[in-house]
Amino acid sequence: MNTPDRKLTPAEIDAFGAELDALRARTVAKLGAEDAKYIRNIVRTVRYTEVAGRALLMAGIFPPAWILGTITLGVSKIIENMELGHNVMHAQYDWMNDPELNGQTYEWDTACTADHWRQTHNYEHHTYTNVMGKDHDIGYGVLRLFPEQKWEPRFLANPIMALLLMTLFQHLLALQSLQLEKLLSGEKTFAEVKEQAKPILKKMRKQIAKDYLLFPALAGPFFPIVFAGNVGANLIRNFWSSAIIFCGHFTEDAEVFPLESLENESRGHWYLRQLKGSSNLEGNKLMHIMSGNLSHQIEHHLFPDVPGRRYAEMSVEVREICKRYGQHYNSKPFFKQLGEVAGRILRHALPSKPSSDKPSSKKPKLVSKKASPVVREEELLAA
């Protein structure tokens, strides 16, 4: 951990929040034709790579075509899921009023239904980022990554579970909203799960039918070759997207917060929690696009509804603001962060205790009762 964060006074926390609000307002005012053109080019890239990938797989009897086709289709799915689907579903492009880029109706090319995603990700994960007991993304109910999570013998399987999670990422993500681990603890009945699972299973069936039946069948005798190509493409997408997502919140310096941190949380506090719970990945432009700009995880968590392509320019100012307020800005190269995540997966498979000098172990320093509470209705009403 770098130099510990400076403890901010309530007034400083409010000022910190106000600076970020102002940055957001400045950026939103700039949105226009350029951003529209960018996202349309992303759509175009997704459509063309999908056709190219699937066409190459049809010729997959020649190994180079199979390899190229599998990679191209994998890349297509990655860009669709991350830079297009994930970002559009965050309402980043709603200002365009384009029904095909509408955050509430967009449906993406993965097993998870867009509606469940909007609930578990947009609402729960983004509102309660890294809050224990509220943010299900902390370990997805199957991994133990922070010493603050209670150890149970099942976590001995951490490394295996992590690999399994990465391999089957699209389907497990689809099942995430069911919170199946609650079956084990008896908090949910099987009947409840069965009812909730209906739309999810429907979407999963559709994805499986498309990738593993329809397109392979179109290849006739080459069914197995195309089938294998689709498996490969989905694996590429699953590994890459899960790696990027793990790096966003499970790195060494990422912090988790107790439930109490939500009490009287002001807008400034909320921003601070997003900053401390997220980590950035350094890389080139291709890396940013391929990660759906989640390489700017900090900016994404501060401004989830601002178009991802604007995060790079915003990050310069965010970093500068953090520096002035003495707050750590967690940004490292991809492989460094990935290594730290792997370290956590291995270390916390075994019982571990929060060590006293770890910031995550304390009640977050940022809790302060005096700063104005989050802008919720009561306050808006008074304004």
């Binding site: 609000d21 307002a25 949105l31 226009g32 034709a33 350029e34 951003d35 529209a36 053109k37 759509v43 175009r44 459509r47 965050h90 309402a91 709603d94 200002w95 365009m96 009023n97 384009d98 029904p99 095909e100 509408n102 955050g103 509430q104 449906e107 909007r118 609930q119 947009n122 609402y123 729960e124 983004h126 509102t127 329809l214 807008r267 909320w270 989830p304 509804d305 989050v374 802008v375 919720r376 209705e377 808006l380 009403l381 304004a383």
Partner: protein, 363 residues
């Protein structure tokens, strides 16, 4: 217009396998206006109609279901990355090719009219909605017709005039067309030619800026005297009026009490006067067909919940978009930054927005 058989067959056989967004993308990519679900139209011609008006000819795709003379369409164009919608009247009559025409007058400082006037090119594609409007002609006509148009309000009345010409001018018809300057007048030669050819059709121009020349020109705003000089017996006329709100109100007070019937349409967009805070405003919930009153300035989500209506919600602080719903019209205010918006919006986050005027929401 129906497509050729093989196209219909392909559509039925494979259509459901391709997602609408994917189909629409490839159609756009090959330069087609085909769409799975949307009314798209290509601009096939553009010509000047007056010093500050252009006429656009449009060829819509198969989703456009037709119109009656006198109706309007909502037209959507993209300006600086944002899609914006305005209403325009169809100036032609329904025809076999299914083509449409509309005439747009450039408004000073106007977003869409200036874009259509200056930037839109032949070959560009615009989006339309279904035609709407009640100011149409009945099947059988008996009483003489009096059309009163001002400015761009000529457009639907031009469509009605063309329909009457096509029907052989079944009744005595008088059109009075107000404009500030002679150079602002649209369709002038066509209307004059029609008046020369059809004894039952009279065409009068009324100018408020330039001086009148000749016998078919009048001068001044609508008044009892002006109308009396133009038509013998107002009480026998069925009157249709169209133009800016001020004009329509004025002729209504003059004509409606006397005329046999009176129909009108005003073009000026409603100006939403911000309600003083703590005043009550009305929310029309279009999908559930309910009307509720709330206090202006109050976050809409909380206000609706207080009335027992539970729209979906999540963070309640404007980040997750769960509560977003369409706003069809009205003035809303973003409570996070105080910004006000009078445009329709696809996704209004009601947890951090308040109503500053009456609103219509997709709830």
């Amino acid at each position: 217009m129906s497509s050729p058989r093989p196209v219909q067959f392909l559509r039925r056989a494979f259509g459901p396998l391709v997602e609408p967004a994917v189909f629409n993308f490839w159609a756009r990519e090959v330069g087609s206006t085909a769409s799975r679900d949307r009314v798209l139209a290509r601009v096939t011609a553009k010509r000047a109609e007056s010093s500050r008006a252009v006429t656009l000819e449009l060829q819509p795709n198969r989703h456009f279901v037709g119109f009656k003379a006198g109706q309007h369409v909502n037209l959507t164009v993209e300006i600086d990355g944002r899609r914006v919608t305005r209403s325009y009247s169809l100036t032609g009559v329904p025809n076999a090719e299914g083509s449409l025409s509309l005439t747009v007058q450039k408004i000073e400082g106007g977003q869409v009219s200036a874009h259509l006037f200056s930037n839109l090119q032949v070959g560009d594609v615009v989006e339309l909605d279904a035609a709407f409007g009640e100011m149409t002609l009945p099947e059988t006509l008996s009483a003489p017709l009096l059309f009163l148009a001002a400015g761009s309000g000529i457009t639907p009345l031009m469509s009605l005039t063309r329909e009457l010409a096509q029907r052989g001018m079944p009744v005595e018809t008088t059109l009075i067309y107000w404009a500030r300057h002679r150079a602002d007048l649209c369709f002038l030669s066509e209307l004059k030619a029609l008046a020369a050819k059809e004894p039952k059709f009279r065409f009068l121009v009324a100018l408020t800026g330039d001086a009148a020349i000749g016998t078919d020109e009048l001068r001044g705003r609508p008044s009892s005297e002006l109308l009396a000089s133009a038509v013998a017996s107002l009480s026998s006329q069925s009157v249709y009026a169209c133009g800016p709100a001020g004009f329509v109100e004025q002729v209504e007070t003059l004509v409606a009490p006397i005329a046999r019937s009176f129909q009108s349409e005003a073009f000026t967009p409603p100006t939403f006067t911000p309600a003083a805070s703590s005043q009550t405003v009305t929310l029309m919930l279009a999908k559930s067909n309910r009307v509720v009153t709330v206090r202006s300035g109050e976050p809409l989500l909380a206000a609706l919940e207080a009335q027992g209506i539970k729209p979906p919600s999540g963070c309640r602080m404007g980040i997750c978009n769960t509560c977003a719903c369409g706003k069809r019209e009205g003035l809303s205010r973003n409570l996070k930054n105080g910004g006000e918006n009078a445009e329709p919006e696809a996704n209004l986050r009601i947890c951090v927005s308040s109503a500053q005027s009456d609103l219509t929401l997709d709830l």
